[in-house]
Structure formats: structure tokens, C-alpha cells
């Protein structure tokens, strides 16, 4: 291996891949049964964090940054004047194995610009995964990008070696897509996504009958949307997200604040701030919808098309629905506890456990780790004294903001424990 050449390629092709924010390496169940290398049964580990605070779990690279397309929001686009490079299949295999053996990574996330055509590109991505599994006995995590427009046959094969597959929708609306990525059609994303979804269902049902049925993309599919590139509002983004979760059984939707990379007049100009706080609010909404029992339209809808930036979406919902409160900590069901601002799921579970032993009061709640500065306005407990219930929502908001300035300043990344 010529390290100088590899180093150069790695710099170019890791740099070009970094805008894909997905770093998840969890959700698979590939055990090391063959005394081979690696094991992807666990939670997924962040081996380190970038200096912008994002999890580094996978070797995330492009196979090549040559591309025949010209999507305006992408650094790899054809018309961009940048250095190009391409890895050989074997080079990616060797890098992955050597990084993995040193405990740098959980596995590989391989994406690519489209060279020649969709199938030619997809074929090479699949080949990398196949070699890792069959020649190297590798049980670590593999995430392959599905190239829009790739054939069903290749997508079927991809799922046999990869843990996760993803196609990035990037632009949540049809109109936006047309404007910024004229070469791409919505159908081209949908097709591989649909294929993978159907294969997953089919393999799962076969597995019930024949135990030896191989795994097919056990960590499922995900996608990513760019935020703030095409003028879309939060209602449109979250509605699209909800649609993809439901329609294609996605495991995750990622939201990536647009990082300005060109002077194209269709896009925010270089120097425009990355909408990180907005991105964080979208992740919080996503969590509320997946783990907290909210329907997406309780949070964003025709009348509330934008998420508030100064407070989190759960608090915003609570203030709009103040008639649902206060909630009695010692009585309320799990669903309603989960809706109380300042109560994360961990606290909810602890409360449910602890209240079996005794009536809980403020002191107990504080020790359990409830963020009382927010929760106090929405709860009653056995302490008798509770917040005067007749506070106006605007007053509550003011009081909360006053007392929790630092928390909101820090809350700029999706890696944080969102509702603390």
C-alpha cells in the first residue's frame, strides 16, 4: 500500500463525505459467530468526536468524487472546480480492516459520486461490502449509500452484505428538487427505497419459516434532508419526514443544516450561518414523534409552520396546550408524563418506578434528575405547594428562559441529550 497516495485520496474523499451527517452504527445484530473480525450487535459506539462535536463511528468516505450530475447544494457536483480522486475497491477494504483492528471505528459508511451511471457505481459499492464480508470475514457495521436509479437486482445484493442502506432525499419538496438538482427525479430515490423496504419485509417473513435465511439490511434504511437550502418550512420538512417514516419504514431521518459551499444564486451565500439551532429543533421534533407519542401535526401544522427557536418544541406544545396541565406526578399515565416539559424518558421511567414506593415530592423529583426549572410549572406532586396555576403561558416562557439561558446556548447539536 502506498501510504502517500492513500493519504491524499483519503483527505479528498473523507472531506467530500463529511456533509452526510448520519453516523449511526447501531440497530444491527450481526454477531461474531465465525471467530472472524468484528461484531455489530451492540449499541454502536462513538469512537471519537469531531471538533464540531459530531460522533465519529464509521469510516465515512466516498468511493469517488467524480460525478456526472450537477446538484447545486453538493461539493461534488460536476461544475465545481475541485480535486477529484477515486479509491480502488481493495484500498477501501484494506483501510476499513486496518482502522477497525485498531478500534478506531465501528465500520464503514461508503457513498459515492455517480461516475458513468447509477448501476456502474452501485456495483462497485456492493463489491466493497461483499469482499469485506466474504474475504475478510468482517462482521463490523457496513452502511452503503443506495445510488438513485440503481437497479433492483443490485439493491437486492447490496442488502445481503450491508447493515444499512440509505438514499438521501436532500430536498424535501418536489419544487425545490427541480430547482436545485435538475438531473434527479424524485422517482429515482423512491425506487431503490421501495425495493429495499420490500426485500426487508420479504426476508423477515422467510426468516420466520426458514431460520437459515440470510440477513437483509438488518439495521434498515435511513435518509437525510438538507435544511435551509431551498426555502422550505419546518411543517414541510416534518411532513415529508413523517411520510418517509411511515411509507418506507425508515429507521432514521437525518436533518443537516445547509453548509454554504458555493456562490450559486439559487442558494444561501457563502458566509451565511449554518442553521444549527433550527436543525436541533427538527431533531427534537423527530424524537417527540418517534419516542414521546406525539403526532407530527400536534407540533407543526398549517397554523404553526415554523418551530420556535428560543424554546424546544415540547415546551412550545405545552404552552399552546396549557389546559392539559398541571399533571399529577403521582397519578398521571406514562403518555402524559412524557409530555411534561423537563421530563425526559429516563425521568419518566424513574418516576413510574419510584412512585410505587412512596408519594413523590419536589425533593424526590430533583434527586431523580428532573429539570424542575421547566417542569415545575406543569406538575403537581405531594408537596402541597406548587406553582400558581394561573400563570399565563407567556409568563411561564419568560420565567423559564430567564433561568435556563446556558442550556439553550449549548443546545446546538443533535448529539445532545435532547430533553435532558
Amino acid at each position: 500500500m502506498s501510504f502517500e497516495r492513500i493519504k491524499e485520496k483519503l483527505n479528498i474523499l473523507a472531506d467530500a463525505a463529511k456533509y452526510d451527517v448520519s453516523c449511526a452504527s447501531s440497530g444491527s445484530n450481526r454477531a461474531n459467530t465465525n471467530k472472524g473480525l468484528g461484531d455489530a450487535t451492540g449499541m454502536g459506539i462513538c469512537h471519537t468526536y469531531t471538533e464540531d462535536g459530531r460522533c465519529v463511528s464509521l469510516l465515512k468516505i466516498l468511493l469517488t468524487n467524480h460525478c456526472i450530475f450537477d446538484c447545486a447544494y453538493c461539493v461534488t457536483r460536476k461544475s465545481n472546480d475541485i480535486k477529484r480522486a477515486a479509491f480502488k475497491v481493495q484500498e477501501v477494504v484494506d483501510l476499513t480492516i486496518n482502522f477497525y483492528r485498531r478500534n478506531y471505528i465501528e465500520g464503514l459508511f461508503l457513498s459515492s459520486g455517480i461516475f458513468k451511471n447509477a448501476d456502474y457505481t452501485m456495483e462497485r459499492l456492493v463489491l466493497v461490502a461483499k469482499k469485506l464480508r466474504l474475504e475478510e470475514n468482517f462482521n463490523g457495521y457496513i452502511h452503503l449509500k443506495s445510488i438513485p436509479g440503481a437497479s433492483d437486482e443490485l439493491m437486492r445484493e447490496a442488502g445481503l452484505y450491508a447493515d444499512r442502506l440509505s438514499v438521501n432525499i436532500e430536498i424535501p419538496t418536489r419544487e425545490g428538487l427541480k430547482k436545485l438538482a435538475p438531473d434527479k427525479k424524485r422517482e429515482d430515490f423512491i425506487k431503490p427505497m421501495k425495493k429495499v423496504k420490500n426485500e426487508i419485509i420479504q426476508y423477515k417473513s422467510e426468516k420466520k419459516i426458514i431460520r437459515s435465511t440470510p440477513k437483509y439490511a438488518p439495521a434498515g434504511q435511513s435518509t437525510q434532508m438538507i435544511i435551509g437550502a431551498s426555502g422550505e418550512n419546518d411543517y414541510q420538512i416534518m411532513t415529508a419526514s413523517h411520510f418517509f417514516y411511515k411509507k418506507f419504514n425508515l429507521k432514521r431521518v437525518y436533518y443537516s443544516g445547509y453548509v454554504p459551499i458555493s456562490y450559486d444564486s439559487r442558494l444561501p451565500q457563502i458566509g451565511t450561518e449554518v442553521p444549527m439551532l433550527r436543525e436541533n429543533r427538527l431533531y427534537q421534533t423527530d424524537w417527540l414523534m418517534r419516542f414521546y407519542g406525539f403526532h407530527v401535526h400536534e407540533i407543526v401544522n398549517e397554523t404553526h409552520q415554523h418551530l420556535e427557536l428560543d424554546i424546544d418544541p415540547k415546551l412550545a406544545w405545552a404552552l399552546r396546550n396549557i389546559h392539559e396541565f398541571p399533571v399529577d406526578v403521582n397519578r398521571a399515565d406514562k403518555r402524559m408524563l412524557a409530555r411534561v416539559p423537563g421530563l425526559g424518558m429516563t425521568s419518566v421511567h424513574k418516576i413510574l418506578q419510584a412512585r410505587k414506593f412512596r408519594q413523590l415530592n419536589w425533593d424526590h423529583l430533583k434527586r431523580i434528575g428532573v429539570a424542575l426549572n421547566r417542569a415545575q410549572y406543569f406538575l403537581v406532586c405531594s408537596s402541597g405547594i406548587f406553582e400558581r396555576r394561573d400563570l399565563e403561558p407567556a409568563t411561564i416562557k419568560g420565567l423559564i428562559l430567564q433561568n435556563s439561558a446556558s442550556k439553550y446556548r449549548l443546545a446546538t447539536s443533535n448529539q445532545l441529550n435532547l430533553f435532558g
Partner: protein, 256 residues
């Protein structure tokens, strides 16, 4: 008069001491590691000899009353090595045995809460070590890593590394506690090593390591740099995830 039971720093020794507390119905009692012993004017010291049978009797008694969660609250707290923790553990065990209901999830009970918090810290460091161990390939083809954790987490991470790196020999060495784990392609064993004087744990000298080792190290550093998005830089968040005290042995943080 207060009695101080001195044990040999092993978990077995600690459980033997607990056995003694019950056997002799000791009321005012403390359990201490032998390295912390101070002669006391007020109490009477007694050395405990680890006894496998007695320890197992206590443990199996606990097993009947606790789920793995409760057992981990005890074991993880033990591994925390926090000074004086033995007495909180003893109080916890006494409550477990004296109450009819299981107490392990009574988070409003100060002792349960304390142990469960310690368990969380130790658990967090266990995960961190699983993430932050960086192997370097030695000349004799062993993947070697050294760590210096706040808590004694080696016993907790053995399983993870064994199932992950089943086809390579590896050593993880705790330089603070001066012992390590060695996986010989079959099983994991505990080892103590002597290092030559010129061995520097923060360096990758070609006297000891494979000639490609530095190259991979450099590739990894390059990769680490390339993945950062400048316009999103956030030092505070970075340091919160990767606390500075761990940087010393992280390949991506070391000068080449």
C-alpha cells in the same frame, strides 16, 4: 466499640467482610481497604482473610433478592474504588436483606440513588474505554493498548473486546493499576507486564511497533481532521464528549 474490618481490595474479600458483619452481628463497623489503613484510637482493626465460600454465600443471598441491575449497583460501585464506598455498599446490602420488597429501583432512597449514580459513572467510563482504546500493532503481532481510567473498568470491558477482536491477539493495559488483559486467540487472561525504561506510552516507537503502525496512525489523524466541518466548530461540545483527561492516549490527539 467500633470495629474496622480490613480487606485485601478484592471483591471476594469485601463479601467475606460482609459475611463477618452478619456472623458476628456487628453494629458499628467499617470496611476498609488494606492500603488505606490508619491506626485508630477509637476502633479495633481486624484483618479479613478472603474466603471463597463465605463470599459466595453472601453473593448468592444477594442474587435471590436482586436482579442484575441491583447486583451491578454493588459490583460497579466496588470497581469505582471511591474511598469509603464499602460502607455505603454495606448499608445497601443490609437494606436489601432487611426489606421484603426489592429496593434496587427505589430512586428516592438516598443509598440506592448514590449507588445508582456511581454505577452510571462507572458505566459511562466503561463505554468510554470501549470507544477510546486505541490498539497499536507491535512487532510480535499483538494489538496493544494502554489506558488510565478513573475507575477499575478492565473487568467490565473484557467481554466486549473478546467478542469483537476474536481473530487477533490483543493486550489492554491499565498503567494506573499496573495490570492488563491479554487475549491469546482463545481466552482472556489477566497479566502483569514489565516495560523497558525507554518505553513511552504516548509514542509509537518503531523499536516496539510494526513499521506500518505510524502510517495508519497518520491516516487516522488525517481522517479525523478531514471530517471536521469548520463552519460548525464547537469546542465546548467536543471537550464534553471527549474529556481532556483521555486525550493523552488517543491516536487522533497525539503529535506524530
Amino acid at each position: 466499640m467500633q470495629k474496622v474490618l480490613i480487606y485485601d481490595e478484592t471483591f471476594e474479600g469485601f463479601l467475606t467482610a460482609v459475611f463477618k458483619v452478619y456472623e458476628e452481628k456487628l453494629k458499628t463497623v467499617q470496611i476498609q481497604k488494606n492500603r488505606n489503613v490508619q491506626s485508630s484510637f477509637f476502633g479495633e482493626n481486624e484483618e479479613i482473610i478472603s474466603d471463597k465460600v463465605k463470599a459466595e454465600r453472601v453473593w448468592s443471598g444477594l442474587q435471590k433478592k436482586l436482579t442484575p441491575l441491583g447486583r451491578n449497583q454493588i459490583y460497579y460501585s466496588f470497581l469505582s474504588e471511591i474511598s469509603g464506598i464499602e460502607n455505603t455498599m454495606l448499608a445497601y446490602i443490609q437494606q436489601v436483606f432487611s426489606s421484603v420488597e426489592s429496593i434496587e429501583k427505589d430512586y428516592a432512597n438516598p443509598i440506592v440513588l448514590q449507588l445508582s449514580k456511581i454505577m452510571r459513572s462507572v458505566g459511562r467510563e466503561k463505554h468510554r474505554m470501549e470507544a477510546f482504546v486505541r490498539f497499536k500493532l507491535t512487532k510480535d503481532e499483538i494489538y496493544f493498548a494502554n489506558i488510565e481510567p478513573d475507575f477499575n473498568v478492565l473487568p467490565l470491558i473484557a467481554k466486549h473486546f473478546k467478542s469483537r477482536y476474536a481473530d487477533q491477539k490483543w493486550v489492554i493495559y491499565d498503567i494506573k493499576r499496573k495490570y492488563g488483559l491479554y487475549y491469546n486467540l482463545n481466552h482472556v487472561e489477566m497479566i502483569v507486564m514489565d516495560f523497558p525504561n525507554e518505553f513511552d506510552f504516548t509514542k509509537t516507537s518503531s523499536d516496539f511497533f510494526d513499521e506500518e503502525e505510524l502510517d495508519f496512525h497518520e491516516l487516522w489523524q488525517n481522517y479525523f481532521k478531514s471530517t471536521t466541518i469548520e463552519s460548525r466548530k464547537n469546542r465546548l461540545l467536543h471537550v464534553r464528549h471527549v474529556p481532556k483527561r483521555y486525550w493523552k492516549y488517543l491516536s487522533e490527539k497525539q503529535p506524530l
